[in-house]
Amino acid sequence: EEPIKIGFAIAESGWLSNYDSAPFKAAVMKIEEINKAGGLLGRQIEYSVMDTKTDQARAATVGAQLVDGGVDMLVVSCDYDFGAPSALAAKQAGKIAFSLCAADPKMGVQGVGPLTFTANSAAQSEGIAIAEYAQKKMNLKSVYVLEDLTIEYNKSACAGFRAAWVAGGGEETILGNDTFKNDDPSIASQITRLKGLAKQPDAVFVCSFTPGGASAVRQLRAAGIDQPILANTAMVDNYWLNAVPGLKDFYLPAFMSLYGDDPRPEMNKFLESHKARYGEPPVSSYSVLGYSLIEQWAYAVEQAKTTESEAVVGVMNSFKDQPFTAGPTSFTDQLHIQVDRPWLIMKVESGSFHAVEVYRNSFKPDMKLLFRVGQ
């Protein structure tokens, strides 16, 4: 029988390749597991990969080529900007496009179209989760928000954070907002403003990503700002911790722990399989999203008993806290991204991230917040 075909239009070179490669490897691992277990609908899964070179025009071309080659589903880049052109090509051919880890709700019904999904949660949900956690579990009363304007992801995370924080503690407990750019060599003036506040905040929320985020944390600590620092998921994993030797009191929401202390057994199982398959743990905790992506699609195909897009999308849209490795997963015909999947809160101590506990946000972002209307 004909094999099922999955195409990967992802970056194998260029800066985005670092974000695509880990979830891609995990996705391959899942495909192999399925094949070993007898395949999907009794058919083996074949996959092919083409390099978008971190270039939008290339992404569109590669997407079109893969679709042209007859894939049943197209996996696209981790990033909305670079995944969307490929996803558009899939849309035109009536195929499902599934992004490895775009955190933008526009990678879905309202943006690319009803056949497009992403395996990640919305960036807003990260901000919401850590804001709620800080207020409810860490008992922090006031906060200062430092927003990196370089990419939309951070703006969304910050928007989520603010909305949840205000809902839980009131407008006035956000003692101030400031902005910076990821490639600013110095945030001295932002620090001066923070230090000049009449009342120092209980915590600082930094929505950013590396390297600028790491640099900001280093400069905050160097300036003697010792309050807890809250951050969004992009700052997860140990690789940047050298930048701030002795960092502690740093918290963020994560997908999973790569360090064996995840309270959820399915995560540790994933970790072990990855080590077995590749001889090393994943380089990034985003990895699990790729694994889960295949898992979700395959499950839907199994339910629909066909790879035909309409049917599969129908099944996926009916997911309601469907348990997958990455966590309970829900889609609707309006929303193809997670907004309240539980997060693993992690903190940094003695040079490494450590799992604290799993936390699920109760504040759910509405459409306005997800698309940041009138922010």
Partner: protein, 353 residues
């Protein structure tokens, strides 16, 4: 006996030859790849033709004035966004671009008028920018265009309610075919050619060679540059619209430094002193990139799968550009147009001069 119209036909031929020498091969490429090429090759050809529109547009100013402009991506972005506002995603627009005026937010505008309006907008933006910065000369002018590029980038990246910030606007109608792209490339080439042989073109080329002597010849640096800047603003605006409706997405990050550098590199590798150089530069670089990308993707030689490591294509292209610059300082075409063989008196010049 030749008929009376023959000489004038020959004259017309001679007049248009530099254009035909560029356009005919391009048309051939489109026909051949349309019939025999794969999807990837066909798309590469479209991308090449769009690049020709852009680089020829850039050439109209940079080549003729000798002033490097880093700012032209600005006018592409203005046109591309304008087109997106008019034609894109009726469902998403009211949500994510809530700051748009009503007549844009709640409806779409037909493709042709929207394209024309967008191109006009780019030209107008170039005119207004030029009004201010064409007072400057040389490096100061270049650097100001770079400043303009940054300013637009900052504004569009943060004007969230209208541009969706730095996120891509996705879902523009993708109507750009090879033939449409070819048509636009031909249009750009013809406009650039007519401009460069016009009195305006001559005047601005004089300022490129020697500003002092041009002033002594009664030429206005400011106006001749402003005209070129505006015209090239229109042309790159056209390129921006094409690009937007080829990709179906618009993103401000695509109109920034790396794009600017690539476009300039194409122009200079081909030779910024001539229209032929602009076109040849695009064709050569596009071809090189495509070839090495294929090698990277892997080819089989005698049943043996063989490929370059990912990322080497960029290294090779950079090295190739350097080689061309080192061995042909003025670019591949070295400032010359493709013309019919000149009258024989060139020989005499050598003996005598």
């Amino acid at each position: 006996m030749k008929s009376k119209t023959m000489p004038s036909l020959a004259a017309i031929g001679r007049f248009w030859f530099p254009v035909l020498a560029l356009v005919v091969p391009l048309a051939l490429i489109v026909v051949v790849t349309g019939h025999f090429g794969g999807l990837s090759l066909q798309r590469t050809v479209i991308e090449m033709l769009i690049s020709i529109v852009i680089v020829v547009g850039l050439y109209v100013f940079v080549g003729n004035s000798g002033i490097i402009s880093f700012g032209h991506a600005t006018f592409m972005a203005i046109a591309a966004y304008a087109s997106a506002w008019q034609t894109c995603c009726e469902m998403l627009k009211p949500i994510t671009m809530s700051g748009l005026p009503h007549f844009l937010r709640d409806q779409s505008i037909p493709l042709l008028p929207s394209a024309i309006v967008s191109v006009l907008l780019a030209g107008a933006a170039a005119f207004l920018t030029g009004l201010v910065i064409m007072r400057l000369t040389g490096l100061a002018a270049s650097i100001s265009t770079l400043a303009v590029l940054f300013i637009l980038n900052v504004v569009y990246s943060n004007w969230d309610s209208v541009t969706m910030g730095s996120a891509s606007i996705v879902g523009l109608p993708t109507y750009v075919t090879a033939w449409l792209a070819l048509g636009c490339a031909v249009l750009a080439i013809v406009i650039a050619y007519l401009y460069q042989i016009s009195a305006f073109g001559l005047a601005i080329r004089a300022t490129r060679e020697d500003e002092v002597a041009a002033a002594a010849s009664g030429i206005s640096l400011y106006w001749s540059r402003l005209i070129a800047f505006t015209l090239s603003g229109f042309l790159v605006g056209l390129g921006g619209v094409l690009q937007a409706h080829y990709l179906g997405t618009v993103s401000i990050n695509n109109f920034f430094l790396s794009f600017t550098f690539l476009a300039l590199a194409m122009l200079i590798v081909g030779g910024m002193g001539s229209l032929a150089g602009a076109v040849v530069g695009v064709v050569v670089i596009t071809a090189m990139v495509d070839i090495f990308r294929r090698l990277e993707g892997g080819i089989s030689i005698g049943g043996q799968q063989w490929s370059l490591p990912a990322g080497t294509q960029e290294l090779i292209i950079a090295g190739f550009m350097l080689l061309i610059l080192v061995f042909r300082k003025d670019g591949i075409m070295a400032g010359r147009e493709i013309g019919l063989p000149q009258q024989p008196h060139r020989e005499k010049g050598l003996i005598n001069g």
